[in-house]
Symmetry: C2
Subunit: 223 residues, 2 copies
């Protein structure tokens, strides 16, 4: 059962946008190593958000993502000039939305839709504009205001404050299970987009709904 | 340059003890899948320590490690009875010290030596006794007292309080780079055992020394 939801809040990376859409650009630089680069890049990026948050050593997502790329090319022993690194970082402003994203957002109208992301505003704002998702997404909320990353509870409070709605009237959508669990622990009604068929993370707060793609969302919400 | 250190504090899992020594037991249950099990088991175990700490949803390391094994066998579609799960968890009380660990600890005498670990006392105490490392390790300190995991700064304070020494007189040894960085950010003099030749994690607090194994430690300390 889905309660009446007066806003939908989406995670950005991996949920609306495919972070692995950088694979092609990576392959153009390092033949056939694009997938390996993309995987380690994403893994380090995430680990460091958690570790830095616990350490109280926040740096913004742009800086962290650039450092994670540097780490990755060093670990994989791939050459990477400053120009190449900055060009690949720029790809984060041009990530592809998942194929079903636009139709799903269109079908969800007229519910208020927002993004709540680890991304810093200097990465997120161009991304939402470049992809045209600003047609549906009216509020782009970044954790950068608090200088701490998901799944810290007060990060989710940012959406409550911006949308001026209680948590139980907000639907939260993420393909990152730990993010879905963090949002559930906070008090949102949560939809986990389980794109890979993974088990639920044992974080003590399982998501309310599990779906395979964003396409299943509108039917579930409208009832 | 290594300053005068009046105590050495070791991480347990991956530093003194080889967590992947469970591979053989896993292989006995799931032929040729031991390495895949061990890797995902360890990865989920670590991720959840960070995520649960940020969420304020601590469960102890025994419970978390058992849940991570359950996740792993489900993800890899391997059958796992309750008996099997508990038997493999029991392996955490009988992990192998790395081959060079005993000689290194012996050579470090008579410096005070302690363990500071994510492990709960119900896992750590039997491990240290079963392996005989209690011959050298006089203090076994668990984050469980604070119900939060590394690299949260106040976890490292536990060693300061127990050993009654200022951070700068304590040497901290870990093979987990993020743990080494967390300890450095806190104020210890830090030795990272880089067993795999990985780059340094970009966490804003690089370790003071990088070594390939514990065997290099005594020469560095004694001078």
């Amino acid at each position: 059962m889905v309660p009446k939801l007066n806003a939908m809040v989406f995670d950005a990376y991996g949920t609306l946008y495919d972070v692995h859409s950088v694979i092609a650009q990576c392959n153009a630089v390092w033949t056939e190593r694009g997938q390996a680069v993309s995987q380690l890049w994403r893994a380090k990026q995430l680990e460091w958000t958690w570790q830095r948050s616990l350490m109280g050593r926040y740096v913004d997502f742009r800086e962290l993502t650039l450092a994670a790329l540097r780490y990755t090319t060093e670990a994989l022993k791939l050459p990477c000039s400053d120009d190449t690194a900055l060009r690949l970082l720029k790809a984060y402003e041009h990530l592809e939305p998942f194929p079903e994203a636009r139709d799903a957002l269109e079908a969800l109208r007229p519910v208020t839709m927002a993004i709540l992301s680890n991304g810093s505003p200097n990465l997120l704002e161009p991304l939402v504009t470049n992809s045209g998702l600003d047609r549906w997404i009216t509020d782009v909320i970044s954790v950068d205001a608090l200088r701490v990353y998901k799944p810290t509870p007060r990060v989710y409070q940012l959406a409550v404050d911006r949308l001026e709605l209680p948590p139980e009237e907000i639907g939260f959508v993420s393909s990152n299970c730990w993010d879905a669990c963090g949002a559930k622990a906070f008090g949102f009604h949560v939809f986990w987009i389980n794109r890979t068929g993974a088990p639920v993370d044992a974080l003590g707060a399982p998501p309310d709904h599990i779906m395979h793609s964003l396409a299943e969302l509108p039917r579930l919400i409208s009832r």
